[in-house]
């Protein structure tokens, strides 16, 4: 027992720089950041959940889930339907929407999780594209608003309405930012914990060699199913939050170019399965993407995909996490080398 305290202190000390960084980041609106770039960061925070969802499952098991937009989109639509048809306030609709989306994704993916190989990935890509088609074509579009989508008032709007007119938009922007930071931090803690737990290593063993994993006594199907549920919950949470902050909900959420390619690029750029690499890459790519708008216009998404191909071909192990490790090693080496000399 006597050792417990110093050990915990040491852990806190080690985490201190990260905690400070998060605190400074979370305080950005208080430090005067407003408007467009605050919105960009809010979106990056929400996309972090999708990146983590992808990295936690596909980055470790190497079952590439291209159906993330389906989970994100069904959560968004579930929230919109709960609000628009049943009058559930957006604030209370988020959790039910996440549950609906996870249950739906799980039910549809279940048969393909049982088989190995290409089926899972291609079936997963099929889902969002079908969903995007379904919600924009009759008869379903008659209920779900077709291309225009479903509109409702955003998260915390009922409170913002009580404020003077001039303060409403800044209040919504900064409160949404705080909520998204909290969600991102929570998701990061969960993803990190899971990825480096025994369970996380079981998922990695499936990615390495599924038959071998099974032979060494891992119930691979159970691990895949559980991992899928944890990962989908993150993606569904991202979808519901995003919808709650940025109504209307349209078929755009199902389009892989919007909700799959950015997290996928972040995952590969950061280093699959490393959690921290994709987190850094998520912010880097999304901020660079926004900054490129003035320079490249619509060509930026073509550039994005080209980058994705180049990365996969030249650096399939990712860039950020590995260069971070290298840098850390060389610094440690220099310090210890200096001591030794």
């Amino acid at each position: 027992m006597a050792f417990a305290k110093p050990a915990r202190l040491k852990k806190v000390k080690r985490l201190l720089p990260a905690l400070v960084a998060v605190a400074v980041y979370a305080a950005l609106p208080a430090l005067g950041l407003r408007g467009y770039w605050l919105d960009v960061l809010t979106r990056a925070n929400i996309f972090l959940l999708i990146t983590l969802s992808l990295d936690l499952y596909s980055g470790t098991t190497l079952y590439l889930n291209l159906g993330i937009p389906f989970t994100v989109g069904t959560a968004a639509y579930a929230l919109a339907i709960l609000n628009g048809f049943y009058g559930v306030p957006v604030e209370y609709g988020i959790l039910p929407a996440v549950l609906v989306s996870v249950a739906l994704s799980f039910a549809i993916f279940l048969p393909s999780l049982r088989v190995r190989g290409a089926y899972f990935s291609i079936l997963s890509l099929l889902l969002p594209i079908i969903a995007a088609g379904l919600v924009t074509s009759q008869p379903i579009s008659l209920y779900l608003g077709g291309e225009g989508g479903i509109s409702f008032s955003p998260l915390l709007f009922s409170y913002a309405r009580t404020l003077p007119l001039r303060e409403r938009v800044p209040f919504l922007q900064s409160s949404h930012f705080y909520i998204s930071v909290a969600a991102a931090a929570l998701a990061l803690a969960i993803a990190y914990k899971v990825a480096y737990s025994d369970f996380g290593f079981m998922m990695r063993s499936i990615g390495q060699d599924e038959l071998l994993a099974e032979a060494s006594g891992i119930d691979t199907l159970r691990v895949k199913l559980l991992g899928f549920i944890v990962s989908s919950s993150l993606a569904a949470f991202a979808g519901a939050l995003y919808a709650a902050m940025r109504p209307p909900v349209t078929s755009e959420v199902f389009i892989p170019a919007n909700t799959l390619v950015p997290p996928l690029t972040a995952m590969i750029l950061g280093g699959m399965g490393t959690i921290l690499g994709p987190v850094a890459a998520n912010y880097l790519t999304l901020i660079v993407y926004e900054a490129l708008w003035d320079v490249l216009g619509r060509w930026r998404s073509v550039l994005y995909m080209a980058l994705l191909i180049l990365l996969v071909l030249l650096k399939p192990q990712g860039v950020i996490y590995h260069s971070y490790l290298k840098m850390k090693r060389s610094i440690l080496f220099r310090i210890s080398g200096a001591r030794g000399g």
Binding site: L62, I122, L134, S137, Q138, P139, I140, A257, I309, L313
Partner: protein
């Protein structure tokens, strides 16, 4: 009863086009063991190429068609060199690379051609078939598709390259031991597959509007058919495309075209639950 006749006639027409399209898809799928997700984008590419050459640049129609066929086959080869060959050992990557190429092409079409649907000239006139007026173009399509099936069978069973394609699809290692170069075979498969996507596009674009994202629906239809028929099984593919075409038209006439989008999903899920190796495939 009239609906049933429509389902039968148009189910047959759609089946033969799906058959040709999915045969092209399964060639590369069989040889590389990996699906080429940009196959649908090749279909869209040809349609736009013919449209731009013939309608906007005034090239004679048949010259435009031939040029587009060659260009699509070349793009198919390029996709193989860029996105499939380097990542053959990493199955996860091929999804990323070929999907990214499909989206690059789609985004490019969206910027250059806009979202307005495009069509091509069709063979004029109508014929009455089982009491249903049918555009003569459908008859032309069916004829050409059946010819393409025969040509593919001749290629696979009579030519050395075709036999090599079948050998590599059977076993990559074994065919190498027999002195076959699988990479060359992969190129041949990509070339034929590109041609088949292009021909289907030229045949079908006059009947179906072409939009930048029009390639996904046939791609997934092809995937569903290959899953149902068993990979690398020509007879299975033919039967599966008939089943798919009739099932799809049945849903179109009873529940509407919007709901029909779910057909490939339902069929794939059914096959995965009941027969993971396809209804005609052999167990591994």
């Amino acid at each position: 009863m009239e609906e049933l006749r429509y389902v039968l006639v148009f189910g047959l027409f759609h089946s033969v086009t799906y058959m040709v399209f999915s045969l092209g898809f399964s060639l590369v799928f069989g040889v590389a063991r990996l699906p080429n997700l940009s196959y649908g984008a090749l279909y869209v590419l040809t349609g736009y190429l013919v449209y731009v050459l013939a309608n906007q640049l005034g090239v004679p129609f048949y010259a435009a068609v031939s040029a587009s066929l060659l260009a699509t086959a070349a793009v198919s080869l390029a996709v193989g060199e860029i996105a499939i060959r380097p990542v053959l050992r990493f199955p996860v990557s091929v999804f990323v690379t070929t999907m990214a190429i499909a989206y690059i092409l789609e985004e490019f079409f969206r910027m250059q051609m806009g979202l307005k649907p495009v069509t091509l000239p069709y063979y004029p006139g109508t014929t009455t078939l089982f009491g249903i007026p049918v555009s003569n173009h459908w008859l032309l399509v069916t004829g050409v598709c059946l010819l393409m099936l025969l040509a593919l069978l001749a290629f696979l069973f009579k030519t050395n390259t075709g036999k090599a394609v079948r050998a590599v699809a059977e076993s990559w290692e074994e065919s190498m031991r027999l002195g076959i170069n699988p990479l060359r075979v992969l190129r041949a498969a990509l070339l034929v597959s590109g041609l088949y996507a292009a021909l289907t596009s030229i045949l079908l674009t006059p009947l179906k509007a072409l939009t930048p994202s029009a390639g996904w629906v046939p791609l997934f239809a092809a995937f569903a058919i290959v899953v149902m028929g068993g990979l690398g099984n020509v007879l299975g593919t033919v039967v599966a495309s008939l089943a798919y075409g009739f099932a799809e038209q049945l849903v179109v006439y009873t529940l509407g075209g919007g709901i029909a989008r779910v057909v490939p999903l339902v069929l794939i899920v059914l096959v995965l639950v009941l027969r993971p190796h396809g209804f005609f495939g052999r167990g591994e």
